[in-house]
């Protein structure tokens, strides 16, 4: 299925999806969307193109914690199996995964960059 992902690579891949989703959120916000917005699954699989629909409020609730990511159901398995994350909630539409250990630290570092002013 995928290359043998290291914990670092898992965290980096997921952070890349998070950056993309921040842009999706900004666009949805600009359009004033009220209904669920199609975000990109933030799983560890770099090639993943699965869509996860969240309202902007739900999305913001995830982003408060820099170690939290959402994935399509089942897509959390790579991170969990590698010990990079633990499932903290699951719904029909998505799974919430909290990064732990080194992956958590990388995720928090990457999130801090989101809080920095644009270069």
């Amino acid at each position: 299925m995928s290359e043998d992902l290291t914990v670092e690579r898992i965290a980096e891949n997921q952070s890349t999806f998070r950056v993309a989703n921040e842009q999706i959120e900004a666009a949805a916000e600009h359009m004033g969307l009220l209904s669920p917005v199609p975000f990109i699954c933030e799983c560890a699989e770099k090639q993943c193109t699965e869509v996860v629909r969240l309202t902007l409020d739900e999305y913001e609730d995830v982003r408060v914690n820099p170690r939290l990511f959402f994935t399509a159901p089942g897509h959390q398995q790579i991170a969990v199996a590698a010990g990079a994350g633990v499932v903290i909630a699951a719904t029909d539409g998505h799974v919430l995964v909290e990064k732990v250990g080194l992956a958590g630290e990388i995720a928090a570092d990457e999130a801090a960059k989101l809080g920095q002013p644009d270069e």
Binding site: E29, L34, L56, D57, E60, G115, Q116, P117, D118
Partner: protein
């Protein structure tokens, strides 16, 4: 057992379908209708409620006495409610969906079927239906989303006005403040709107940004020979 609740006698002695019903049958039928998961309303030609079942009372939040003192147009909020009612009388039946106003002011999407009934040769109108819970859930989600959007839009306006930014940049500034301080964007926006001041979380980000710009624009020191 004698049922003295309003509406218990409205089925009349002739029963539905014109067949005579024994008192016990009337009572059973009444209990079945009253406890039905459907909302049941009976009204007269003048749109006065004559009988309502318990479910209608529970869902709308009114007592039976309160509902029986009301007109159909007090509950059905559609501007065309009176015309719809006249249409039902003309056609002797109707089906559709309308919004019902509950006692707490909320609007409930009601899908119904209405038809004529005659009791002791007097014409009444019975409407049976359900509140569309899926639609209700959707409209509640939209209402919540809209409330959040309003406060975010207000905060964007405040930030844009105070800092001379366009609205998209104002959103980026707000979001950076929320992300870097691990607080909800909505919470930060509520503070911006209520305090009418720029919160420290945002100011810190701005001063960091201007420091970076100063560093970038500062003349570089010539290399020493």
């Amino acid at each position: 057992m004698v049922d003295t609740r309003a509406g218990a006698s409205s089925l009349g002695g002739s029963g539905v379908c014109g067949l005579a019903l024994e008192p016990v049958q009337q009572l059973l039928l009444y209990e079945a209708v009253d406890g039905s998961p459907a909302l049941v309303f009976v009204a007269d030609d003048d749109m006065r409620y004559i009988a309502v079942n318990s479910t209608a009372c529970e869902v709308l939040g009114y007592t039976r006495e309160e509902l029986l003192a009301m007109l159909v147009t007090d509950i059905v909020t559609d501007a065309q409610a009176a015309d719809l009612y006249q249409g039902m009388i003309r056609e002797t039946q109707q089906q559709g969906d309308v919004a019902l106003r509950a006692k707490d002011g909320s609007l409930l999407p009601f899908v119904y079927q209405a038809s004529e009934i005659r009791i002791n040769r007097i014409q009444y109108w019975v409407s049976v239906g359900f509140v569309n819970s899926a639609l209700l859930e959707k409209s509640e989600q939209l209402e919540t989303a809209l409330r959040s959007r309003i406060v975010i839009e207000q905060a964007k306006g405040v930030i844009a006005g105070k800092l001379g930014l366009d609205l998209q940049t104002a959103f980026q500034v707000l979001r950076r403040g929320a992300r870097s301080n691990h607080i909800r964007l909505r919470t930060l926006c509520e503070r911006v709107v209520s305090e009418r001041e720029i919160p420290q979380e945002i100011l810190a980000g701005l001063s960091q940004q201007s420091s970076r710009r100063r560093l970038r624009s500062a003349p570089t020191k010539p290399a020493s020979r």
